[in-house]
C-alpha cells in the first residue's frame, strides 16, 4: 500500500475567480502582503502495489485534472 497525492491547480493563464476572491478577502481580514492566490484541488489516494506510476499519471491526466484548464502534480508520499 502507498499513499499518493495529486494536486490540481488552474493553469496560470486561466482566470481563477475563486482564488481572486480569496486574495481580495485577505486584506479585509487584516492579512497584508499576499499578492496572489490560486485555488485548486488536493486528492489523497491509497493504492496497492499493483498501481504503477504510469497508471497514476493516466488517472490524473484523464480524470482528476482537465488538461485544458488545469496543471497537476502526482507524488507518492510515505504512508
Amino acid at each position: 500500500m502507498a499513499r499518493v497525492v495529486v494536486d490540481v491547480v488552474p493553469k496560470p493563464e486561466i482566470l481563477d475567480p475563486q482564488g481572486q476572491a480569496v486574495a481580495n478577502a485577505l486584506p479585509r481580514l487584516g492579512f497584508e502582503g499576499v499578492t496572489s492566490v490560486r485555488q485548486g484541488k488536493h486528492f489523497e489516494l491509497e493504492v496497492d502495489d499493483t498501481v504503477d506510476d504510469a497508471t497514476l499519471a493516466k488517472i490524473a491526466e484523464t480524470f482528476l485534472a482537465n488538461p485544458v484548464i488545469e496543471d497537476w502534480v502526482v507524488r507518492r508520499v510515505d504512508a
Binding site: 486561466i14 475567480p17 475563486q18 482528476l64 485544458v68 484548464i69
Partner: protein, 226 residues
C-alpha cells in the same frame, strides 16, 4: 414516422423534461436515454440536457463523460450523428473531447439566471440552420460555471473556421473568452451552448420562442424519415 431524438437522463439531470418537450414541439419523437444504458435505441440524434449530473462532483461533466451512454454517444458522434449539449450537456461534451475547451466558474462567481441575448454566428450547423446569420435571439441562461475557456490557438481555430455558433451580446455574463456562448465541432454536427433554447420554445412558458429553431434545424440536417 418522425425523427427520433434521444434525450439523456443522468443522476442530477434537470432539463431532460423540457428538452424532450422541445423535441416534440419540433414534431420529432423524444426518446428517453438512461445514463447507465449504452443502448441509443436507434435514435437519429441526441440531446445532452442541462442540470447537475453526478452533483457536479470533481468538475462539471467530468463523471458523466464516462457514463455507459456517453461511450455510445461519442462513438455515434464520430460517425456524424448530430449531438446537442445544453449547459451541463455542453460541459459534458467538452469533458468528453467532442468539443474543444472547458467551462469554468463565472468570472464574478455568482450564479447567473436571466434571459440572455445571443447572436447566431453560424447558421450552417445541424442545430442552427433555421436562423438567419447575425440574428439575435433571447433565451434563458442559468449557470454558475459557464465561462468558456480555451487556449489561444484553439480560440483562433474556432474563430478562423467559423465554429462559434452563438455569442453573447449586450455584455459578457460569465467571463467567457471572446463572449462565446456556443460552439460546434469541425463537421458542424456537434453543438454545445450554455444558454437554454429548450426553455424558449413558446411564449406561454418562455421569454420567446426563439429557441425552437435549434430543434427545427435538426430536421433540415437529418431529414424526416419516410
Amino acid at each position: 414516422m418522425s425523427l427520433r431524438v434521444g434525450v439523456i437522463t443522468f443522476p442530477g439531470t434537470l432539463d431532460d423534461v423540457d428538452a424532450a418537450r422541445a423535441v416534440r414541439y419540433a414534431d420529432a419523437e423524444a426518446v428517453p436515454l438512461w445514463h447507465a444504458d449504452p443502448d441509443l435505441r436507434g435514435v437519429d440524434a441526441v440531446v445532452v440536457p442541462g442540470g447537475f449530473s453526478y452533483g457536479d462532483y470533481l468538475r462539471c461533466g467530468a463523471i458523466a463523460r464516462f457514463a455507459p451512454v456517453m461511450q455510445s454517444v461519442i462513438e455515434a458522434a464520430g460517425k456524424g450523428m448530430p449531438v446537442l449539449g445544453i449547459c451541463n450537456g455542453f460541459q459534458i461534451l467538452c469533458e468528453a473531447g467532442l468539443l474543444p475547451g472547458a467551462l469554468v466558474r463565472n468570472s464574478k462567481l455568482h450564479f447567473v439566471c436571466r434571459d440572455q441575448w445571443l447572436k447566431v454566428e453560424n447558421n450552417t450547423t445541424a442545430w442552427s440552420s433555421r436562423y438567419e446569420r447575425g440574428a439575435e435571439i433571447l433565451v434563458p441562461l442559468k449557470s454558475g460555471e459557464g465561462g468558456y475557456q480555451a487556449d489561444q490557438r484553439t480560440l483562433d481555430e474556432l474563430e478562423g473556421e467559423g465554429r462559434v455558433v452563438f455569442r453573447y451580446v449586450g455584455g459578457n455574463p460569465n467571463g467567457s473568452r471572446n463572449e462565446i456562448a456556443g460552439i460546434t465541432s469541425a463537421n458542424g454536427r456537434v453543438v454545445g451552448l450554455m444558454p437554454h433554447p429548450e426553455h424558449a420554445i413558446e411564449a406561454l412558458t418562455g421569454p420567446t420562442d426563439d429557441g425552437l429553431g435549434v430543434f427545427l434545424s435538426l430536421i433540415d440536417a437529418v431529414g424526416v424519415p419516410a
